[in-house]
Symmetry: C4
Subunit: 258 residues, 4 copies
């Protein structure tokens, strides 16, 4: 196995006005939840998968007790307006160098398919358990800010203050050199837990961008389960006045804003 | 010394229906105990050893105060049904990249010897001190599940939930690309301590697979010693209601499920 | 993108008696504050920027919600006495190997421009909240100590005791092999907080070296804000007798003395 | 600068029955203290120095405020019986791979000079503050154990139980492949503090090996200072019944047994 291995599942893929969306694991798994939901609801077709020494040495076990090696995958979802390339996966790179190498590869692939716009999807950790349906944006070209505001995305000076770490940020930074306009769209989330409710807010924005209508039912169900957990956490918070252990967990999550 | 160095101890090894079993250090050292026990009881013959920059910079001291550099070793155990190649060693890779490189090498060697089936042996951490003789399985081809159930191996949907990390998982994932059917067999274990009792349960399954009869005496003796330690830990647990220090140790062990 | 990528912003730069000053992030961000202040006040011109796999996979968000990939930058500030090359940036290398490779590149660039003297700017962590306007020096050639004392720089045997870690130290060490006289100038600082007041002290010394007069207004304003925070910390310190959390933070900061 | 850079200080060095001793930083700095003491007392001559990306990016500041880049150095000490090559330095490798690469280089150099025997010097952490003048040995060829016992070195089955980590162990392991008989000599030490008293015990053994007589005065003075600190620690220990913080420090030190 090479350092990075790309396996083509489908050859000769022709795409109409292709846009890349990226939903890799990160804060609250918000981006991952949205991208995987799109793939499922739009009957997406897988076109390639990527293995790498830069992913953890790990396999995932499925419902049949069958494993697969951790990977990233590219799907295509056909919509009236655009063909959406959706990049999802089990992990981001576990090394700094790997982040740069993998994101460079992702952009090579994006350019091969003629992608002119990239949206990286993620979560913005607030440190607060209170829910907000806000979606925050950052761009690699300020000329697209006004257009994105029309989709209901908010922009705030110098936010996130700690920058954007991981693939969500790096893809914006690296695509700038290739003159591909890109934006990172972040659902506000506590930063403590997987957050399907924040994913719903982000999904609504994504639907507006692509002018599509998607059933949010499955996300809603997961959101209800999480809300019960959140309610319990809030009780604990009121009792304890501050939650040091959960704050510690947040630090870890902050590694991948986005 | 090269990045990875293979030293052939014996040339021109001819094998009958060879199967590779892998018992490297991991959770509860369950896999390591089983593989080393097989090697001893079946008078196995060493055929090669592997040194690497990806192992820790460390030597082990023997009973004569003589050292050896940390390594992995391959033995052959002759049985009526199969010749068993047993991969054992002092350490797994200490780097992510090394895990991928070493497992790729192990599969190259397996294919050189005509291996058609691989069993990686490990422990499945339950976090509970209560003993269970269960052996859990995961496969890289669901077609072999029924056959393995006959040997007394259990299969559970999506278990282990955190996937399988380290060589035990990676060998399954990588051998899938080479069309070698592989399974990870995991003895249930607390995850806190070296567990010769769980190794006994796993050994019984391995004996059924290879249709062999092995003296478990030495493992039983070690198991009795550990049981005394376990009994004391359980007392402490009842007194203390929760065992944070031991839980912390578990996190470390969890790095290598298998 | 290559491992290290240098982008020339301006070609054919001619310099008069060029001196390199280096103000990368470090203890109290003292060096970074001084170098960035010089760049602003002297209307410096950017001549190149450096991207690398050895920087974190991160982008920084500006006031227009536009991102830039983390980088190091080289500016030229024209003064009557010298043309000052100022190296600033978002991060130091995140790997040991990267530190050596990037500093080697910085020296290649310095030599290309004919640099005969290098000043690396940093902070010296005292662990004390009490302010001192002292600037401590270390050199790679003891022949320049007397000259530097005239600028108000103090020298103390074997100080800093833990050596100088990161680019500030490495550039001194590596430039010695190229016969470039270099000094590390360190403003005394608590080591707990960004310290614009220490930066003012260091800036005064830098002004003396280059025989220039610079408005310290902006630094003074930031210093006043920090002083309020310091005052509150001192109160807490008196109440609590020892500040373990802050000491812990200091350990992290100590990674880059300078 | 290359990954590893060897600078020859003196060419055409002719040696009589050369033996390599290695005293790099490690547990209690016992090995380092002994090797540096030998170098000083025997008026050793420096023959080469080694720089590497695998050392931390750090410079050390001397009594004139002049820095040097961290390095390893090789000296030759002339004695009637043998010419002693002494390898000392500021740091061991900070990466696993670097340990293997540097130790391979050290053995290349040893062979170039015709070295037939290597002694790596270190400390053996007991976790006890009580002093012992014992020196423990481990070898890469059990045939030399009896000879070493005559010098007053003790040997114990499987000790150290955790193996020997770092250059002290790796040089034994790697030199075995080159048929160079090597031993690791470890002064017993608490593992908590720099230990010049243990260094004295180890130095006596080294003097017997080389049939030399060395003034231990400077080590004795440092030992007396440390004894005062030890006495105070013992008081604290009696008061506190167990010393968790110091135990924590020990874990770190254990990384380099030797």
């Amino acid at each position: 196995m090479q350092e990075i291995e790309v396996i083509r599942i489908k050859e000769d893929v022709q795409l109409k006005d292709p846009v890349l969306i990226v939903g890799l694991p990160g804060v609250g798994h918000v981006g991952k939840l949205v991208a995987e939901h799109l793939i499922e609801e739009l009957d997406a077709e897988q076109i390639l998968e990527i293995y790498s020494h830069h992913f953890p040495p790990q396999v995932i076990v499925d419902e049949n007790s069958e494993i697969h090696l951790v990977k990233n995958e590219l799907y295509v979802c056909r919509t009236d307006k655009n063909d959406i390339l959706a990049l999802v996966g089990d992990h981001q790179s576990s090394s700094t160098e790997g982040h740069y190498k993998l994101c460079t590869l992702y952009l090579d692939i994006a350019q091969e398919f003629g992608v002119k716009r990239i949206y990286t999807l993620g979560g913005f950790p607030t440190g607060q358990l209170a829910f907000s349906d806000e979606v925050l944006g950052a761009v690699n070209n300020k000329d697209i800010v006004e257009q994105l505001k029309d989709y209901g995305i908010n922009f705030k000076e110098n936010e996130p203050g700690g920058g954007i770490v991981g693939a969500s940020g790096l893809l914006l930074g690296l695509s700038k050199f290739r003159n591909i306009d890109s934006a990172c769209l972040m659902g506000l989330t506590s930063g403590y837990l997987v957050d399907p409710k924040s994913a719903q807010s982000l999904l609504k924005v994504v639907c507006r961008i692509f002018d599509i209508d998607i059933d949010v039912g499955p996300l809603e169900e997961r959101a209800k389960d999480m809300e019960k957990i959140m309610a319990r956490l809030k009780e604990v918070e009121q009792q304890q006045q501050g939650m040091p252990e959960i704050s510690a967990a947040k630090d870890e999550d902050l590694r991948y804003i986005g």
